[in-house]
Symmetry: C2
Subunit: 335 residues, 2 copies
């Protein structure tokens, strides 16, 4: 087998983020579940956009965020996702390429508009997301490039893809190509409600086809329908070859068949916006995995990358993440 | 082998606690290391007692606290430790017996006065301890009751005993009797500075003779001289049959050869005084171990017991701990 040309290829919903501050009362008035992601249609997206405060626009989407962070760390990243050839679509494509991620998907000339996620950040730094999937929905099997996937050490998939049949078929196709090429497949569970929608299928995937699982505490508890982190930990330890479970300020727990690591969160002067924390953790962890780091160092690099993104608005690095790679060789500074 | 008459017998320095509030500035003026335990002589004890604010007196000592908590949970507890036949000595003996712990050690009629620990609690609920060991120092081999130790399922030893040659000899003697009777030996590392004083000996003990180890994060990092919890975790996992590592608000990590559990701290409305948190955790955990609970439930019961004691001043339960045993069967309430 040839040496892979990419460390990681990410597949996901190509979405432009619109981020705005919001009070808790605004969430209540809009009937929104704080901290969750919900899918909305174009009309609702327009209405909510009109009512919310002034926004900051930047290209986003969970796996895309991870690939941008991976590139910033110095990793070789590629991305597959679908945008329309409209203003937001051009913004997305320009932005991800400018960040150093290989992105060769063709923009659609018709159909729904480019996807957007209206993110409301409450004073407690939590984010509540309202996603209009638009063009990203039509991402399908036809857009999967077997050669590109075979050329990546790890294929990284968002759980969100499972929400739409065409994207789900593309997910399965990509997974098959990756394993046929002898590569690894990583999955991020994305969101506790997403897990709730697809629990049985996700569990079957994790037991049989996923090599590396990423989940936060709410997601992994939702997956196993348990109310305690330790119960989820015992279950995932049996089911999965390698799992990295993130716990916000409690750090992360990394578990494989033979190893377990309990690694602290990296210190952050002030948490401004947790958008992208999980995406950046996954990027740091995958950089480590694809560069032969031991699991504790992978988790430290994940923690360091996450600590960068939560210190400012938006899910893209405010500065090069490259120095974090060297920093991850040493113990994290104590909080 | 006969059925043991006690669940746990604790051995330690029999000390009366004197607890007072103190500002950080007071600690600085006195040259005290916040959060640490230091040994002082009788003259220093008198001087510090004069200068500190009004105190609350109650019988204490790490292993004694644990045995009182164990009795409150409904466990069968015994204690060995040495007091003088003076006022504080009589207070200690009355108090521990009234709490339901078998305490048959003879009070010394001469020698140093009963030990006391001057505990300064700063506004952040941390405790800084100044211990005059007095009579407890003379606890020695002569006071070890082989029959009593053989009659207990677990012999629980404080690391503090290692500070004085006579008590250390008693520690070794007790350990020998326990293993000769086919019982388990548990050790609490007591204090990071205590570990620093006896690191090599503690490591040898843990590798070869201790069945159950209790340590907080500072202690286990000190034991292995590492700056990161995960590094200590990897080391102790190799060295020790069973270890319960407490991490304050981060909960505890329990590790045996085949199992690992990451269990949350129990919610506390307000942390008033962390004195006794480790002692109560150990009591809950040992109640679980001696009643056949699985390790996750042992850790939950430890967390619940610790949460009771840190909600008020002093290291004795303010209310019966018995309801916690049933509560530990279920998941902990979320913080």
């Amino acid at each position: 087998m040839s040496e892979p040309g990419f460390d990681v290829i990410g597949l996901g919903n190509a979405i432009v983020d619109v981020i705005a501050n919001a009070e808790d009362a605004f969430l209540v008035r809009q009937g929104l579940d704080k901290g969750a992601m919900r899918l909305i249609d174009e009309a609702t997206a327009e209405r909510l956009y009109d009512e919310m405060g002034p926004g900051l626009e930047c290209s986003g989407g969970s796996a895309a965020n991870s690939m941008v962070a991976l590139a910033s760390l110095g990793g070789r990243a590629a991305y597959l996702g679908r945008v329309k050839d409209d203003l937001l679509g051009r913004v997305f494509a320009h932005d991800i390429r400018a960040a150093g991620v290989a992105f060769d998907s063709r923009s659609a000339s018709d159909g729904a508009a480019t996807a957007r996620c209206l993110i409301l950040v409450t004073p407690d730094a939590q984010r509540t997301m309202n996603t209009f999937l638009g063009a990203s929905t039509d991402f399908g099997v036809g857009e999967i490039d077997a050669g590109l996937i075979g050329a990546a050490n790890v294929t990284y998939l968002e759980g969100y893809l499972w929400d739409k049949p065409a994207a789900k078929a593309a997910f399965r196709e990509a997974l098959g190509h990756a394993h046929a090429a002898g590569r690894k497949v990583a999955l991020s569970l994305s969101d506790a409600f997403c897990v709730d929608r697809h629990r049985a299928e996700f569990r079957a995937l994790i037991e049989r086809e996923v090599d590396i699982l990423f989940a936060n505490e709410a997601e992994i508890r939702s997956l196993y329908q348990v109310d305690e982190f330790d119960k989820a930990l015992q279950a995932v330890r049996k089911d999965c070859e390698l799992a990295a479970l993130t716990r916000s300020e409690k750090g992360s727990v990394v578990v494989s068949r033979d190893e377990i690591h309990v690694v602290d969160a990296a210190p952050v002067a002030r948490v401004v916006d947790t958008t992208g924390a999980g995406d950046f953790y996954a990027a740091g962890f995958l950089y480590g995995i694809t560069h032969g780091f031991d699991l504790a160092r992978c988790a430290r690099l994940g923690a360091l990358a996450a600590s960068e993104v939560i210190g400012h608005f938006g899910a893209r690095p405010a500065t090069s993440l490259k120095p974090l790679v060297e920093a991850s060789a040493k113990s994290l500074p104590r909080r």
